[in-house]
């Protein structure tokens, strides 16, 4: 348990380091949903190369680690295909409507003391806790 917190802190510092690098080198905000969403809906045509390079690194480097280690870290998923598809739809629509997710509003917004980022983070944390409570403890589907 405590070791998980240490790994969490180390991984978190790397995530923040990645966001700092993207900001200070490229002048861009590291928001996963925005970078992907701009590719999906075409609104990011002007800097498509940077977006694809970032997403390539994000998908590719963990894949290389998995291949070198000969196995992936644990992913314990609950919920059937329909639940996962519904969750994906909600996350896709929600993050684009709100213009950000955990990385954009959470990491980049809170660190900038952005009221929008803080408000969004409070909203998705609260909704996440309520959603988990309802679907796990009341309905028992996840």
């Amino acid at each position: 348990m405590y070791l998980d917190w240490v790994y969490g802190l180390i991984g978190g510092l790397m995530i923040g380091g990645a966001a700092a690098l993207f900001l200070l080198a490229n002048g861009r905000i590291m928001g996963a949903s925005g970078l992907l969403g701009g590719v999906v809906d075409g609104s990011g045509r002007g800097n498509l190369g940077e977006r694809l390079a970032f997403l390539g690194g994000l998908v590719g480097l963990p894949l290389i680690v998995v291949l070198l280690r000969g196995g992936a870290p644990e992913t314990e998923m609950t919920g059937n295909v329909a639940v996962l598809a519904a969750a994906g739809l909600l996350v896709g629509i929600g993050t684009r409507l709100a213009n950000g997710c955990t990385s954009g509003h959470g990491v980049c917004g809170i660190s900038r003391l952005s009221i929008r980022g803080i408000a969004a983070t409070v909203a998705y944390l609260a909704a996440g806790a309520v959603s988990l409570f309802v679907f796990r403890h009341i309905l028992g589907v996840v």
Binding site: G57, V65, A72, G88, L97, A98, R112
Partner: protein, 144 residues
């Protein structure tokens, strides 16, 4: 070329950080959201750890230009509107349901878990229809 290299490096470091932090495991994320169950505080260490370097990066950026040219993004107008809260609430509902948000979902595409692929395909579909949904919402009379 440099811009692409630094973009790929940032994305790669982000992915590795997500991997090491344990956030690509949906059970860890749901453990954090499960305040009334078997609560797991790991996510707070991840988010807290990530905010620290970025806090200093924003400070450093003040009055400077990005290393590869251009300018830093200006702070968006600090308005809390319906789309921000409604969108974040929908996102949170899906986040709790699957234990995945966009970054970790993409970082774990290569793990080979078909459940992640289902989630990512649905997420991309959701992103594709959002401009249409946003136009509909914006056209509807605003009630706060």
């Amino acid at each position: 070329m440099k811009r692409l290299a630094f973009s790929a490096a940032s994305g790669g470091l982000f992915g590795l950080g997500l991997m090491i932090s344990g956030m690509t495991n949906p059970a860890k994320v749901q453990g954090w959201l499960d305040f009334l169950g078997d609560w797991d505080p790991t996510l707070a260490f991840v988010l807290g750890g990530a905010i620290v370097p970025m806090f200093f990066a924003w400070r450093y950026a003040e009055g400077r230009k990005p290393a590869l040219g251009g300018s830093f993004p200006s702070k968006p107008e600090q308005v809390i509107d319906r789309n921000l809260i409604l969108g974040s609430a929908l996102f949170g509902a899906g986040w709790g349901l699957a234990g995945l948000c966009p970054g970790p979902a993409m970082a774990s595409i290569g793990y080979g878990n078909p459940g992640v692929w289902v989630f990512v395909i649905a997420m991309v579909a959701g992103m594709a229809v959002t401009p249409w949904a946003r136009r509909r919402l914006d056209a509807a009379p605003a009630k706060g």
